[in-house]
């Protein structure tokens, strides 16, 4: 495995077993997260980006289950150099629990509901330390205060005693980040962390995340549907559609030479200031297919302007490398 790689996801399948049928939320996705870099995962709701993240932590909610595929986690610390395949572990496995919160941690969209309303912020932050370092006892409160200060929470001595409902939205998300970074993880998964915030607070939180990243040298998996945030945050980008990764590239390539028709259409649909006034905004034709009934072949073929009958609706397009670090899953680029 490339030593610069932290997480390597290969052909991940995560299904939800509903009464109506099986939803293949993640349907053969592959992507990699490099150490210390930010991977932006972008796609519309239901494309499987959150479930991919949940699969990494093995916290896919019932009735969902990882069906097959590999999630390789590379741990290199001093002498220690090993690779763990997360999909080999049970969700309840002690090793898996050990990874959660200490090596990989996660922050969520709703900072209000992501904290327990009946425990103080301090209690919930300290818990993270105690869970992973049971002997840390006395120094835990001091570490909590220190971390709160680092994420820019004013008056940490008082706010550590506060209940979540007493903090503002931005403060709660800062506290959330503090909790996630408590044990200096090598990967922070951020699942639409700023969607619920106003624009000013969003900018502050994004800046905080970048600062913390350079301070702690961690990788970030940044999940969002907002291409603007991707442009601002990501080093690399993975574009997902209907449970598959359709394009992977460094962030510049994504915006300057998009290859997949879906990504091209997606970029077309962004309003631009320099465009002439009066022009209609481009929307992608059709709707996302029913996830219970995914079409054969390329998942996008029903909406694709370059649809090739007999090819796109029959064969799943393989990943094609078009440039260094730039792959796309589309028959337009296959030999």
């Amino acid at each position: 495995m490339d030593p610069g790689i932290l997480i390597d996801i290969q052909h991940l399948h995560t299904n939800f077993y509903l009464r109506e049928g099986v939803v293949k939320a993640v349907n053969g996705a592959s992507l990699t997260i490099a150490k210390g870099r930010t991977l932006g995962v972008v796609g519309e709701s239901g494309c499987g980006k959150s479930v991919t993240a949940q699969s990494i932590l093995q916290i896919v909610p019932r009735p969902g289950r990882i069906e097959s595929g590999d999630i390789l986690l590379h741990i290199a610390e001093g002498d220690l150099d090993e690779t763990i395949n997360i999909t080999d572990l049970n969700p309840g496995d002690p090793l898996m629990r050990d990874i959660r919160g200490s090596r990989i941690s996660m922050i969520f969209q709703e900072p209000m509901t992501s904290f327990s309303p009946v425990h103080t912020v301090g209690n919930q932050l300290e818990e993270t330390i105690k869970l992973h370092q049971p002997k840390s006892g006395d120094e835990a409160p001091a570490r909590v205060l220190d971390m709160l200060r680092r994420v820019g929470i004013a008056n940490p001595e008082r706010n550590v005693e506060a209940y979540p409902h007493q903090l503002s939205g931005g403060m709660r998300q800062r506290a959330m980040i503090a909790m996630a970074l408590m044990l200096e993880p090598s990967l922070l998964i951020a699942d639409e962390p700023t969607t619920a915030l106003d624009v000013t607070t969003e900018a502050q939180i994004l800046a905080l995340m970048r600062d913390m990243q350079s301070e702690l040298h961690m990788a970030i998996m940044f999940i969002t549907h907002d291409l603007g945030v991707i442009a601002e945050m990501a080093d690399d980008v993975a574009v997902m559609y209907l449970g598959r990764v359709v394009e992977k590239a460094p962030v510049r390539a994504i915006f300057h030479s998009p290859k997949h028709p879906y990504l091209q259409a997606l970029l077309e649909s962004i309003p631009r200031i320099q465009k002439r006034t009066g022009a209609r905004l481009q929307a992608i034709e059709g709707v996302v297919p029913n996830p219970l009934d995914v079409p054969p072949g390329c998942p996008f073929h029903l909406r694709c302007p370059d649809f090739m009958p007999g090819v796109c609706d029959e064969v799943v397009p393989p990943d094609v490398t078009v440039d260094e670090g730039h792959t796309v899953a589309c028959h337009l680029y296959t030999e």
Binding site: E20, A25, S45, K49, P291
Partner: protein
Amino acid sequence: MTVATPPKSAEANLYTASQWQLMWWRFSRHRVAVVSMILLVFAYGAALFAEFVSPHDPNRFSSSWVLAPPMRLHFTRPDGSFSLRPFVYGLTSARDEETLAMVVVPDETQVHPIRFWVKGDPYTLWGQFDSDLHLFGIDVWAEQPLFLLGADDLGRDLFSRIMYGARISLSIGLLGVGFSLLFGVVLGGISGYYGGLIDVIIQRIIELLRSLPTIPLWLTLVVILPPHWSALRVYFGITLILSLIGWTGMARVVRGRFLALREEDFIMAARLANAPQMRIIMRHMVPSFTSHLIAQMTLAVPGMILGETALSFLGLGLQPPVVSWGVLLQGAQNLRSVVLAPWLLLPGLFVVAVILAFNFAGDGLRDAADPYAI
């Protein structure tokens, strides 16, 4: 969560179905609720046609049949031959060899087949139509009554009495809920629509009423009904007393829905379109909570039935000769008679069955009430 938005269904007509159609689909998926609903239709049908369904006059008494045991339905004759038409044995008095008391026992020499559409005790259906036709019975009804569920301490047929009692007990449930609905919708509507001080006062009253122990309150209220009232007036009086607590639940639902709906975009849209207030309420708000109200009503009926049963059981509700399930259970208050004749507890079985049916049906309705929820 971005992914687990479960797909509604592949059928295209799902998107065009009316709200009531959607609710029916959801409800019909609830098998227990559907069965309960059918059971309730039967129960109310039997109550409506009690005269016809019961084989006997509920007040026909006879000292010869005091505490006669339920007759078993047989399909094999004493000689071992099979008969598709069920039959019962007649009863005769005999002396118990241990206690030396006279008891009523089956007499295997008398075979009475059960027949449908037979003549029996004459009756006047709904006080209008004279008839003597019964759904089922035995040929010798005049000399030998059919005791499907045994007889009470005056030798009256318990099954017939339960059928007549159903009329009172089941209708009190509906009527009480009707009263509750009236109070609940008016007061809950006022509370939710106007808000402010009126809302606070009504909410306080509801809270107070809900924190009172119901049976002691009902008992005390029942006692102050004037003693010279006719049975019919007492019946209405008791129903009113029962709905005195029942309306609070209804009012809560109505108020809650009103408060939620006030904020909804489609109400705002109607308001911006300058629709008159009354039209907004009747055309937009009421239809969107009728389903919740129906569910709540179904769930409120058992409380009413139980209330009547409890009051009459304690001897403070309806009084004999009125027949209700509670009045019938009064006969089971004495442990000695229950030990002698356990079938006196059977009216209780009917109470439980109806209450369960209402609860299951109401539960299914409540689920169906929100057809757009996942």
